[in-house]
Amino acid sequence: MSAEVPEGASAEEQKEMEDKVTSPEKAEEAKLKARYPHLGQKPGGSDFLRKRLQKGQKYFDSGDYNMAKAKMKNKQLPTAAPDKTEVTGDHIPTPQDLPQRKPSLVTSKLAG
């Protein structure tokens, strides 16, 4: 019995197999789904758009900071590991942790 093409394959399965051969896009999609099986059911939908609208990093949240300070009273707030460049997540940043943002004081090299 031939193992390559199961006999009596439904039209849908046959089309899918054809698609994988003829459409590079669908082949790429299969590759992606294989790597990330939990990828959103609504591709390009709300999750992706909402991420786009929230561009911009979260830094110091004074509300969290003051709440945590109040709760912990005199205890020290957990400080960031010295090699951390991004201050996000469970750690509550302190003003000292924030990287300084300085404007460009140097003239553009295009004008050089």
Binding site: P43, G56, Y59, P103, S108, L110
Partner: protein, 449 residues
């Protein structure tokens, strides 16, 4: 010299003219060019970068002795347009990157341009000073005040010539009108108003008024969970001051008429190409997202750029584009890795030449593509330091899509996806183009016989 419009019936030969910027490896992020724009006469060329700086180049007068050399662009003015800010209320940093520059048509001796970052639009005035007053009575030549008791005669100050000084001053700051990130600005043909568009809203401004703007499009849903598309680009019609278009992340374009109502949420025309549902994949919507929309100079057509194609639409036909050009279709078999490295979200721009006969857009590996709408021929060129001898003719490049690779071709797997040409500009009336390759600006011209 008679300006040469667009491509002729024979293929245009493009030559290297100039390159601006440094060759250093690992250039700082601030130097990455984020926008390029010629002014309406082509005399000035402006660039904006990620560091919030604007550099303006001016074309030098063509010398009568060197008829074979077209005017070169030299630095005219440079200034810091935007600075990094921090929104304390939202705990968000506001990038100083210049998203767009748009020139105003020249109405007096000074030049005016709009530059914008994610949140704030600024009107800059660039003016020349080549005279200064001398002979004040109460001040000496160094500016120190003189004791009035020592003054025995009066003189009339006179204007004396001085070395040319170009000054840039911010004349208006249009702030606090956008909750989301500004992606487009467009000057209206009435020269009195302009629009700024963010992901969900479009605002109409009067140049004279900075503390108010009219909201003309609002696609924010009441419940953000229902959000399905965002605004990706917007532009005013070049002649009809009541008409504008905006594109979406779903690959559609809406044309609106401001005479119809104050809030243009209901479009006048809706441009969408029908999609074959059997071809739909996870990537379909992402690659259909329009990254740029531009009216033709004639105002009759619009051009849109999505991830793999450039399309030309006739304003009179909404149901499909009249022309579709493949920019780099070979990337279709690379979509998985392009999604993983985020390149699939790159926003390429597109431009028309002065006569609307040729369109141009960028690609990867510092390649850029031109499509002649009349001859239906296209060419791929490369912006690289290797082809940077003065007046060296650019050799067409070709990407090999599998099978045998010819000597001059490059295979898809060898393309450098970090070298992307997102921003290009075409002189309004001549065959001069400016191509931004990361931190370098290339200027190419067609071959002068």
């Amino acid at each position: 010299m008679i300006p040469r419009l667009g491509a002729l019936t024979q293929d245009t030969l493009w030559c290297f003219s100039q390159v601006k910027g440094t060759i250093e490896i690992g250039a700082t992020e601030a130097d990455i060019i984020s926008t390029v724009e010629f002014n309406h006469t082509g005399e000035l060329l402006a660039t904006g970068d990620k560091g919030g700086r604007v550099v303006i180049f001016q074309r030098e007068q063509e010398s009568k002795n060197q008829v074979h050399r077209r005017g070169e662009y030299n630095v005219y003015s440079t200034f810091q347009s935007h600075e990094p800010e921090f929104d304390y209320l939202k705990s968000l940093e506001i990038e100083e990157k210049i998203n767009k520059i748009r020139w105003l048509p020249q109405q007096n001796a000074a030049y005016f341009l709009l530059s914008t970052n994610d949140k704030t639009v600024k009107l800059w005035k660039v003016s020349e000073r080549d005279k200064r007053p001398e002979g004040y009575n109460l001040k000496d030549e160094e500016g120190r005040l003189r004791d009035p008791a020592t003054i025995t005669t009066l003189r009339v100050p006179v204007l004396r010539p001085m070395d040319l000084m170009v000054e840039a001053t911010p004349r208006r700051v249009f702030a606090n009108a956008h909750t989301y990130h500004i992606n487009s600005i467009s000057v209206n043909s009435d020269y009195e108003t302009y629009m700024s568009a963010d992901d969900l809203r479009i605002n109409l401004w009067n140049f004279e008024i900075t503390n108010q703007s009219f909201n003309i499009v609002d696609i924010k849903p009441a419940n953000m969970e229902e959000l399905t598309e965002v605004i990706t680009a917007a532009e005013f019609h070049p002649h009809h001051c009541n008409t504008f278009v905006y594109s979406s992340s779903k690959g559609t374009i809406r044309l609106c008429d401001m005479r119809a109502s104050a809030l243009c949420d209901r479009h006048t025309k809706f441009f969408e190409e029908p999609e074959d549902p059997s071809n739909r994949s996870f990537f379909s919507e992402i690659i259909s997202s329009i990254s740029d929309v531009k009216f033709s100079h004639s105002g009759r057509y619009i051009m849109t750029r999505d991830y793999l194609t450039v399309k030309v639409w006739d304003l009179n036909m909404e149901n499909r584009p009249i022309e579709t050009y493949q920019v780099h279709d070979y990337l279709r078999s690379k979509l998985c890795s392009l999604y993983e490295n985020d390149c699939i979200f790159d926003k390429f721009e597109c431009v028309w030449n002065g006569s609307d006969s040729v369109i141009m857009t960028g690609s990867y590996n510092n390649f850029f593509r031109m499509f002649d709408r009349n001859t239906k021929r296209d060419v791929t060129l490369e912006a690289s330091r290797e082809n940077s001898k003065p007046r060296a003719i650019l050799k067409p490049r070709k990407v090999c899509v599998g099978g045998k690779r010819r000597k001059d071709e490059i295979s898809v797997d060898s393309l450098d996806f970090s070298k992307k040409i997102l921003h290009t500009a075409w002189h309004p009336s001549e065959n001069i183009i400016a191509v931004a390759a990361t931190n370098n600006l290339y200027i190419f011209q067609d071959k002068v016989n």
